[in-house]
Amino acid sequence: MKDTFRGGVHPREHKDLSREEPLRLFHPVGEMVYPLSQHIGKPAKPVVKKNDPVLAGQLIAEADGFVSANVICSCSGRVKAIEKRRTISGALMECIVVENDGQFTPAGDYETRRDLSQLTGEEIKDRVRQAGIVGLGGAGFPTHVKLAPKDPNAIRWVIANGAECEPYLTCNDQLMRTKAREIIEGLELVLRLFPKAEGVVGIEKNKPEAIAAMEAAAAGKERIRVLRLHTKYPQGGEHTLIKVIVGADYPVSKLPADVGCIVDNVGTLYAIQRAVCYGEPLFTHGLTVSGKAVVKPRNFIVPDGTNVRELIEACGGVKEGAVLKKVLAGGPMMGFALSDLDVPVVKTTNGLTMILRDGVEVAERQRTACLRCGRCTTVCPTGLLPELMAEAARREDYDRYENKLHGLECVACGSCSFICPAKRPLTETFKQVKAEILARKRAAQAGGKK
């Protein structure tokens, strides 16, 4: 089997900064903030009131409907307020604010292993739903929805995504090294739901220790194999990972389940294992603080709701004399820049990258007209023609953009912008055009209904 996809880029990894840092459990001291929407789907509904006492692991907002997720408190203390706060995306959102008493008293027994012998598939899905687990790779799609496809027998692969192709991020690497058995057990639990599926753990070759640990943990498991992936961005994208395993791309209009795949981040699988085996809901997760600007790059197990500034200060803050250009939630390719550091970490925040050299700022100085050199076409993992898309977008020829060039298939991985020698803002344009086209369609639909 091939170990990679066509296209892609290889940005400098910078993983050495933090790859040997063990995952430390972080104990925040300040107030904790829990946005009601940390996932794709409807925001959760609060089930606590102001001044209510809460414990770590307690449900504080419950899912509103099927495509939604529970929000769990990660500390013990008292609810201070339920109000609009700035969140990591920069938007103001309804949040539950908890005064942290620093005790982290658990709401239940998360140390004793439950008996799994009588466990049914429905119970597994139910525990995952109760635990408020969402995709920890970054998108935050509710996992219990993912685990309930129309036809479970049509699922042929359950893929554990340990590619971690974003530069700087190393928390999944550390997680796989230290929690390999637990991740494999989480994968086995998911495989119970899909009798015809094979478990595949995809890991990029730049993580030999993680590969060794996962292979050891998977040894003797008939339904599970570890796949070594070529080190290339965006190898950890859902589309590209599925492409390597299935051997073909699928359009964005389809879900992975439509082509027989369920993809879960290794962090998500670890959370599933904790939830099913120990009854522990999702309120901590792996996170890397790295970048050239930070004094001590670290990997953490961090409680949700932790203040970003507090976390950065725990890593020694910004280097003496260094000019911090950007703090990114996630890695430098798909992460987004923070406008404010006093925002809480949410379930999907898997990294904080603090950079000294802003590629966008440099690029704006070097920008020239498009050369039509075709590098964007070569690297596009989806097989699009970004230079023609940019031209169609410039002319606002959305018909050609959507129907002839299939521009809506863009997954916004950023490879085209990364490689562009003329430093055109390609990915940015495509995100805007996609939003514009979808808005127009909604408007047309609304108009049609009247």
């Binding site: 798909m334 700022e361 007209a369 498009c370 039509r372 298939e409 990364f418």
Partner: protein, 518 residues
Amino acid sequence: MNQKLNLSSGPHVRNYWTTRFIMLVVIAALLPATLVGIFVHGLQALWIILAAVIAAVATEFVFDKLTGRKDTWTDCSAALTGLLLALTLSPSVPLYIPILGSVFAIGLVKCCFGGLGKNFINPALAARCFLLISFPNAMTGFLVDGVSAATPMEVLKSGQVVNITRMFLGTSNGVIGGSVLALLIGGMLLWAYDVIHGQICISVLASFTLFIGLFGGQGFDPAFLAAHLCGGGVILGAFFMATDYVTSPVSRLAQTIYGVLIGVLGAMFRIYGHAADSFSYAIIIGNLFTPLIDTYIVSKPYAFRKRALQIHGLVHKKTFFDRFPKPVIAIAIIALVSGLALSGVFSMTKAPIEKQERAKAAAAYQSVIPEASDFSFLEEKVSRFAGEKYGTAFGAVTINEAVEGKDAAGKTVGYAVSVTSKEGYNGDLTYIIGFTGDGTITSITNTVNNETPGKGSLCKEPGFTGQFSGRNVSAFVLNGTGDEGVDGVSGATISSKASVNAINAALDFFRNVVKGGD
């Protein structure tokens, strides 16, 4: 930690390749050919290159200042255009040629259409064609040791054998960037590092070779094909001109179609056209097709391609015809049909055209040997000199044909020699000179004359041609006195000199070859 943070959309890291870096890489890839050019053709080549590059950059600089644009001259693309233009010029051109060409390329073709990335044809090639049309003599004059001579392409066109090794190394008379070896080294490096699109080079060269092989008249003779590939800028065109990013299509299939178009057109112009050195036109026509190709030939994303659909069980199994991409079949058929049609037309019209030309020639011969009713061509005697410079004393003169005129009884009544001087004021001057058996000139006709009207054009008037009739000398002396002296046309020294040289060459040829049996 309370500094202001930048807010912008990702990706937040970028590759180190910039526009300027790419331009410098391509310039570096052209350096071997440039250095060989300077080495072979001397310092004059260096001055031409410098003039073209400096003029190109200066034009862009001035344009930037005039229009208040960001300084685009610093991106080195203008320098690359200048260098490419210089490499397509003869090393003997005067310096105003590269300067004018660069100003045209950058000022008109590039900047006026919006600058980098917006020109619709390759600026260097457009400038070359502009120069070819405006200064045909300077542009097609190639000097070897200070004497003008035919280029390998002209020799090849006339059906002669050329020295491929010299063409390959770039030591034969031709353009500055004529070293195929050096160009290949640079081109291959660019290809290896993915700077240029390999499929364009392959499809251009493959379709060109195939077409020349099929319709070139000499089959797939390796020496013949190699001579065609090494000459007339095919390698420079395929690796550095056709692959120009701005004027070539985007998707792979579109690039292949574009390459095949250029290759086939280039070969067709080569075989059927009049200009031996016509690859530039083929590339320019390819450039003009690029927007059209880009509009209609776009590749689908991987998820919509047949293979992906098959794997997901959305289309039927492969049939026999599915194995060949349809556009490839279509192009192959179009190329074949147009090629066959062309060669059909060519062979159908070949006989009538030849007949007509013979009749025209016969009329000319008739006029100088009025008694003759039948002409036999002395091909053996001429073929030894065909296409080459005749003698050393007559400048760039070639002997075209020689005939023996016979009357109805089959008795020889005279001879005629057709001779061309390439050193007219404006190109070729061709004369037909009639002789009696003892070498007395019966009369002279001037059949080709493109000289200045009222000056050099008078060379075809009886006032000039009449003075040679009835004389029998070994050589004429222009403006001389005595037996050998003839008068030139006043105000047309160059035309007169070339004419007398041509006539003297014919005299020499008649005495020493036709009669002398040399």
